[in-house]
Each structure stands twice: as structure tokens, then as C-alpha cells.
């Protein structure tokens, strides 16, 4: 019980830090609110879906960045999609980098694009790790209201 409470507290703290550090925004809360008995793992499912689907987008952008000359329209289009997707889970930092990338596309700054994309990928990966850790811990802690659960 105590252990359980402790876990829950840890989960709560972890969650809060994700917001405080700007990794997540309000959208994530929206997802949490959607989670219910019919979809008890909704948030995790969505995040998983996001990472799976956006992987190909990331690959496409990567590939497009290898082409010379750079097709900014194309890059912008990809990034637009990617940004939209990232906004779905509340990936705040990822989204910010996406916007920056699009700005470079708009001004035709190839170097800026390439550089920013590295940031995008970094934030993308970081968020994933953090969320995975979070979900894992949450699963460990289990549902908050099962007081009878041990460990």
C-alpha cells in the first residue's frame, strides 16, 4: 500500500516535471481526460501510435534533406504534417522545433533546416524516452483506486 502510494506519488511527480520542463502541453491533459474505463490505456496508445506513424515522416524528411537542391516546399509540407501530429500528443518542444524548421523553409535557409531538424529529432527522441519511462512507472503503480493491490 505504502509502496503503492509512493509509486503513485512518483508517477505524479514525473508527470508534473514533464509539464514544468516544457515537454508536454495542455493537449496531453486532454488525452488524459479522454482516458476512461472503456479505454484505460488511451494515452499510451495514442503516444505509441504517434511514434509509429511519425517515424515514416521523420524518414521522409531525412531523405528530403539529403537531396540537393533542397525542396523547401516539400520539406515544409512534411514538417507541417509532422507538426500536426506532434501537436496531437502535446509534444511542446518537438512542436517548437517544427515551427522553427518551417520558418527556415519559408526563408529558404537550407542550413537552418538541416540544423533544426537535428533538434527536432533530438526532442522527438527525448520525449519518447521520457514518456516511455512515465508509462512504465504508471503501469507499475497501477490504478490509483485499488487499495487492496499489493506492490
Amino acid at each position: 500500500m505504502e509502496r503503492n502510494n509512493q509509486l503513485h506519488r512518483q508517477v505524479a511527480l514525473m508527470r508534473q516535471s514533464l509539464f514544468d520542463q516544457g515537454y508536454l502541453d495542455e493537449q496531453f491533459v486532454q488525452l488524459e481526460e479522454l482516458q476512461d474505463d472503456t479505454n484505460p490505456n488511451f494515452v499510451e496508445e495514442v503516444v505509441t501510435l504517434y511514434y509509429r506513424d511519425s517515424a515514416r515522416l521523420v524518414a521522409s524528411i531525412e531523405q528530403a534533406l539529403d537531396n540537393r537542391p533542397l525542396d523547401f516546399n516539400r520539406l515544409d509540407s512534411y514538417m507541417h504534417q509532422f507538426k500536426g501530429s506532434s501537436s496531437s500528443i502535446g509534444g511542446r518542444k518537438v512542436k517548437a522545433e517544427c515551427s522553427q524548421f518551417r520558418e527556415y523553409c519559408r526563408t529558404g535557409n537550407g542550413e537552418g533546416c538541416i540544423r533544426t531538424f537535428q533538434q527536432v529529432k533530438r526532442e522527438y527522441a527525448t520525449l519518447r524516452k521520457k514518456l516511455e519511462a512515465y508509462f512504465q512507472l504508471a503501469r507499475q503503480a497501477g490504478p490509483r483506486d485499488t487499495a487492496s493491490r499489493s506492490t
Partner: protein, 589 residues
Amino acid sequence: MMESSKGFSSPRSTAFPAGLRVLVVDDDPTWLKILEKMLKKCSYEVTTCGLARDALKLLRERKGGYDIVISDVNMPDMDGFKLLELVGLEMDLPVIMMSVDGETSRVKKGVQHGACDYLLKPIRMKELRNIWQHVFRKRIHEVRDIESHEGLEGLQVTQSGFDQFDDGHFFSGEDMLTPAKKRKDLENKHDEKDFTDSSSSTKKARVVWSVDLHQKFVKAVNLIGYDSQIFYSGKDVTCLVCSAEVGPKKILDLMNIPWLTRENVASHLQKYRLYLSRLQKENDLKISYGGMKHSDLNPQDAARALSRQNSINFEQNDATNCNSRISGNNLLIQNLNSKSNEINPRGTTITEKSSPGISHSLSPLEQEMKFPAIDGITPGSYSWREVPEIQFHQENAGNQPEDCFRRVAVPMGGLQNHVQIDQLLPVTSISSKAQLPNLIETKPLNVDYAISSFTQASPVKTRIDSFPVPTKIHTGNQQAIQPPSTNKPSMESQAFNPSCVTNLESSQRNFSSTTPESAFTSPDEVLQVGWLQDYSTCLGLQNIEFPDFGDPSMVAEVPMHLYTALKFDFEQLSDQSELPVINQGLFIA
């Protein structure tokens, strides 16, 4: 609350807005999942689609099966705005656009295309909770339209749709009650009225733009801002619809229909414009396909592009162009197919049985901006089945576009529809003489005609006179072609250029050379012939995949290499007579 179960695909057991049937379209699976969950939490009935194409299919298949559509702006297979337009035109459903991009220009565009709302991603659930207001608003407005109409003619009042609103809990004030009461009166009067039309129980009472009505509309529009005519020289084209002077008030006055309101006309005009511009875009695409530049389209350019395309197509004598033309015509033709008297592409089930598989208005073409119009046709599936009906139509209709118009395409989706429609016209000529050459001759005219007919109706006539009539034109069966295309030929004549005539003549050797009969009173016919010939030449140059018309005897006389051309022409033929109808048939408000 009264249960409006009639026509409801899923009867609502709870009060509106619960149970609102929402169709969500988004290529992003993550968002789709989220939105679905959000909408479900709002107690809405959700259907999701990852592709615009699928969404359209669903909407068409289940007419009236949805109350509102939410769509993302950026989608891989179709531009969200286009989908928006189509849904508005065909199904007249409220559409909400979504995007992560909140740029003013984008939002503006959305509104211009008819979106009733534009949401920015990330979307909150509370934003979705209120979407029912758009459904409600639309219904209220339509009721008002009906109410202003004293005659109540042509109205299809469905009871069910109103029942929900009868429930007092929506009505916050007196003003609300009045519409409800009036509605009730309407309902009482029209109890026997057809509620079903497939559109659904939620079908709101609305002004039905019948063939007649639309024709008057088009006439009025033509008269007003459109002084200039389309010159197929390709240089000087003006689209009447684009004229800023063409305003709903003027149109309304000209139409002189007592019960019609300015609002009715305004919304119809808007749709008409959008339709034309869309067509224009497609034509432009085709033009570009044929090597033409793809112009940035706006309603103003619509007619221009259309006529340009026509002339270009002809000049090029290129397979590509021919094809694209066909496609364009197919698109137009589609609408003509059904024979239903009440044209209501959006929601009504076309009562006409003659046109199975005819896709609804432009949609199929919209989606398949390529030759597919031809390629996609299922060989033999429709073939000459349609012929008899068409014949009847053509011959009886004379110059009455209404007849053609009545043949509103039954929403079926697919290019097959194209085929059928196309076959309609050819049949007429075929039936009269069953000579292949004729068919070919008339074909080309139809094609371009179809395109140009959109932009104008009456002015066309004057054109004909100025156009040089090519001699040695296959006119044998021209007469057959006559009836449906009386007024339209002028369009083609314009587009006709010398090179075409040359082609015509050169291609003549392929056909029995008949000189134009004196029976051809109108130059347009001759021109038509010329066009056809030109077309056939074009066609002959390539192996166009055409639907098997299912009647080998028809083409028996035609040498194989011309067969394809012939087929092509068939499609064109149908286009021609269908053109005027297209104008009318498409815009059922």
C-alpha cells in the same frame, strides 16, 4: 422528444445533439483516434476516414447518413478544400475544417469554400462539443427558406428532421418557436410528401433547384454580368459567373420566381461559382497534362480556362488532350445521366433507374484527374443499355435541357458513370442512323461543348454564325445529334479552329464522305461534325481505352483503328447534348 426514425440510419434514442452523426476525415491516424474518442465522449456517433476519397464514398453511399463532416485541410489524396466543396455541393452538409495551420489566408480560404467553422489543432474537446450548432443552424436556415416560399412547390419537407427541433429545449425564445410552428404547418401540409429521399430523415426542407429553376438561374446569370462571350480564339474569354456584377439580387429579379429568396439564390450562386472554378481547375490540370500551363484558378479564370482548354485541345490534336477533354466532359455528363425530375444531387436518391452507377456530379472526375475517366470505365457494363433511354430523351427533349437535366447522376461513384453518360448521346445519333462516322463527328463537339456550356448558355447561339462552316463534313447523322445540342453548338464552333477543320477533312477519308446535308440548318451542327472528326483524328492517333459499348454491331463498320476513336466520340456525343443540362443539373441547392 419525438423520435424521428424515418430515414435515420441510426435512430437516436437521446435528445439532439447527442447521437449526432459525425464523419471525421484526417490522414493522421493519431488525430483520427483522438478525435474519435473526443466525439464519442460528446455522445456523438463517429465514423472515421483516413482518406478523402473514402469519405466521399461513404457520404455518397449513405446519403443522409451523416449530419456533419469534420475534415483536415491537408490530405494526401485530395485537398481538404476540395472535399469541402464537394460535400457542400453534393450533400449540403455542414463541414468543419481543421488544421494545425492557423494562417489567416487558410482560414479565409476555408470560409470561402463553405466551411462552417475552422478549428486549429490541437483541438480541445470543448470545441467539439459545440459542433452540433452548425447542424442546427443549417436546418433553421433552410426552414426559413421554405417559409418564405409560399407556393411550397418542389419542397421536400421531411418531418423527422424537424422533430428534433420541436423539442422545446433548444428553443430559447419566442423567435425559435415561430419557426417551429411554421415548420409544423409545413409539415402538416406536406405530410404526404416524400420524406424518405434517401438523404435521410434529417433531410431539411429546402429549396429544390429543379432543372427548370436552375435553368432560369443560369439564364439570369448569363443575362446579367455576362455581356461578352467566350471566344474560343483562346485569347479573350470572360466567365459570366465571375463577373462581379452578377449578384444574387439581380439574378433573383431576373428569374422572377415569387417564392424564391435572395438567400436561396445567393447560396446557389456561390455553389455554382465554386463548381465552375473547380471545373476550371480540373480543366487546367488537363490542359497542363496536355502541355498547357496550369493556371492558378479562381472563379474568374474558370471560364477562361475552360475555353482556353477547348481551343487548346483542338489545336493540339493530341491524345492527351483528347483524353483530358473526355474526362472533362465525362465529368459534366455525369450529372445528366439520371432522369429524375427532381434534381437534387445532394441528397435525393435519383429515381431514375437508367443511370446506375453514374457517379454523382463531378465527384468522380474530381478525384480522378486523369484519363481514368475513360480508362476506368467498366467495359460493357453500361454500354448501350442507356441508349434507349437516351434516345428517348434526346428525341423528345428536343432542345429542352430539362430532359437532359433530369438525368441527374445517381451517386454511385466511380468512373463508370462517365461511361454511361457518355453513351447517352451517342446513342441518339446512333439510333438515328447507326453510322459510326456520325458518332465520331458529333463527339468532339460535345466534348468541348460540355466544357464551354458551363460558362455560357444563350450567348452561344450568336457564335455559331460567325464561325466558318467546314465543308465536307460528315453530316449524315447530324440530325440525330441535333436536338440535344441546339443551343450549345455555338460554343464549339468557337473553339473550332482551322486546324481542326483540316483534320476533319483529312479524317474524312476514314469515313464515308458525305457532304453536309442541307438538313443542317444550324452551322453549329456542321461545326459539331467538324469537331467530331477532329476528335476522331485525335483518337485515331492513340489507343484510348474505351469502354466496350457492348454493341458490336454498332461499330462493325468502323475499322478497328477508328474504333477507339469512335468510342471516344460516343462519350463526346453524350457530352454535347448533356452540356446544357450539366449546368443545371449540378446545382441543386
